[in-house]
């Protein structure tokens, strides 16, 4: 039996069962997600460190920014629901519905990115730069833009990846499993935002 036969799964009976009962691609996505969780964890801990060690940490966010963050949360959590519906449709073999819901997810992701950029522009307009701001500790800008920028990069790259997978699924290059695997990444991006909001926004509300 050739190596190709084994890798295509034709070796049932001569190969042991998968130890985690999931395909290799899904396991790789899970491993990427836990490594990325540690990356975001390290960034949030570093943010906590510099905030803790600075006596004049700025608290620039007014109720408008907080409502914007809440709206962004609503959009991102809703996009998690829409990709779930898309993946379920793909599993049921309903290709057009799966593609439709995946593109709704992409649009919601882009709406999130637009609101995020609006928030950035507001802060930049108030004089916040990477290493200076009008209010206090110069590290505020660097840590804020680094954390939210890394998250924004994940959202945008996730939207691109979902678009590519949805178009490939439409052409028959990818299947419902690929869509499911990329939905894991999308849920992870949503999950990270749940920690970014309290630490970066809600702990820095203007008194």
């Amino acid at each position: 039996m050739s190596e190709a036969d084994l890798s295509m799964g034709h070796g049932a009976g001569v190969m042991e069962a998968r130890p985690f009962a999931i395909p290799s691609k899904k396991l790789v996505m899970w491993l990427f997600i836990i490594s990325d969780a540690c990356t975001f964890g390290a960034m949030l801990f570093a943010y906590g460190f510099v905030k803790n060690a600075a006596p004049d940490w700025p608290h620039p966010f007014e109720s408008g920014s907080i409502m914007n963050a809440l709206l962004m949360t609503f959009i991102l959590v809703t996009s998690s629901l829409t990709i779930l519906i898309g993946v379920r449709a793909a599993k049921e073999g309903n290709k057009s519905k799966a593609i439709q819901w995946t593109f709704i997810t992409v649009v919601l992701g882009l709406a999130f990115a637009a609101l995020h950029l609006k928030e950035w522009m507001g802060l930049i307009g108030e004089g916040v730069r990477l290493f200076q701001n009008p209010w206090g500790s110069p590290m505020f800008g660097a840590s804020f833009f680094a954390i939210t920028g890394l998250h924004l990069a994940h959202v945008v790259s996730g939207a691109v990846a979902l678009t590519v997978v949805a178009l490939g699924y439409k052409r028959g290059r990818y299947n419902s499993d690929d869509l499911e695997i990329w939905s894991l990444y999308w849920h992870f991006v949503d999950l990270v935002w749940m920690f970014v909001v309290p630490m970066v926004y809600l702990m820095n509300v203007k008194a």
Binding site: P19, F20, W30, C38, N52, A53, M194, F195
Partner: protein, 94 residues
């Protein structure tokens, strides 16, 4: 791939719960870091278990992923002592 997608009704319940918890964070717990992080951890648990379906995966997968991640994240807490040392020392102390 085995399908473990659950039901749309269950997904909707989790979706509403996560949004309610987000509102609780904003309107009731703003400024209370520990309480907000507990709520965020509950939201993360719901998302991982139901949206990402880790709860219905094989136990060996959960054991391979979760303890290692939690260990790394818990070990990062060793930085706090140093951040408090900085704020108590020069140049900020009188």
């Amino acid at each position: 791939m085995e399908s473990n997608q659950g039901s749309i009704k269950g997904d909707l319940v989790v979706y509403v719960l996560i949004l309610i918890l987000a509102c609780v964070q904003v309107f009731a717990l703003k400024g209370h870091l520990f309480a907000m992080l507990v709520v965020a951890a509950i939201q993360a648990f719901l998302a991982i278990s139901f949206f990402m379906h880790l709860g219905s995966e094989k136990r060996t997968l959960r054991l391979a992923l979760i303890p290692a991640t939690l260990f790394v994240l818990v070990m990062m807490n060793m930085i706090w002592a140093d951040s408090y040392r900085l704020i108590s020392m020069k140049p900020f102390a009188k």
